[in-house]
Amino acid sequence: MDIHKFIKQLAEQFDDTDPSEIKPDTKFQELEDWSSLTAMGIIAFVKTIYGKEITGLEIRSCNTVADLFRIVSNK
């Protein structure tokens, strides 16, 4: 898995956040347009693109984008 590709895919889940604002150390759950719908979107794209299943709990346990990438990579 490539973290740059992953960040690009993650950024697409945000309607109002500029993609350039999303970096490995971004606390994505603190972004203004973060919502439960964004979490659902992440679960869906991880399944569609990577064929992996992550849970809302796992997403909530992440602090930064890098944390999320690590969880998905290790699946």
Binding site: E12, D15, D16
Partner: protein
């Protein structure tokens, strides 16, 4: 390239009159693909590509058939019920961006859609005479309501399904 959109009207649809016991898988796919799957997938792509502007308006042309059963109309009715339910959920998801989602449910409207299969012009005329306003709708009747749904005049409407029927059931 598709520009950003302030409004979209999903109005493509097909009709079908087949008794329930004669329905085959292809009959279901034919109607559901056009009346339900296509607008849902198109809308998903529009959202993925971020083509829908904030405070935009999305309108689905459904049908009173969703709640008004008639013989041979099972899959058509189900497809319209499905799009209404979908639109309600879409409205909830897009509300944070002030994008409104509403349905219009017409009764019979004189278009090519209703002149199909076993339904005769005589039968339609007899049915039309039972409408309190003594006529079926015209595309223009529906267009005026659609314009209202797209405009700021309906700024506080989302998740609604407005019937426009000439008094018909």
């Amino acid at each position: 390239m598709l520009p950003n959109l302030d409004g979209i009207v999903h109005c493509a649809g097909i009709g079908q009159r087949i008794p329930c016991r004669e329905l085959r898988e292809d009959d279901i796919d034919e109607v559901m693909n056009t009346n339900f799957k296509a607008p849902v997938m198109l809308q998903a792509e529009i959202l993925r590509q971020k083509k829908m502007n904030r405070e935009g308006s999305i309108v689905f042309i459904a049908s009173i058939a969703a709640e008004s059963p008639s013989m041979g109309n099972a899959v058509y009715s189900a497809s319209k019920g499905a799009i209404i339910s979908y639109a309600n959920c879409l409205g909830v998801e897009l509300a944070p961006r002030h994008i409104r989602v509403n349905c219009i449910s017409p009764a019979m409207v004189r278009t090519g859609l209703i002149f199909k299969g076993a339904v005769t012009e005589e039968a339609l005329k007899a049915d039309e005479a039972r409408y309190p306003l003594k006529r079926y709708g015209t595309p223009k009747d529906i267009a005026y309501l659609t314009v209202y749904m797209l405009s700021e005049a309906s700024a506080w409407m989302t998740g609604s399904n407005v019937k426009i029927t000439g008094g018909g059931k």
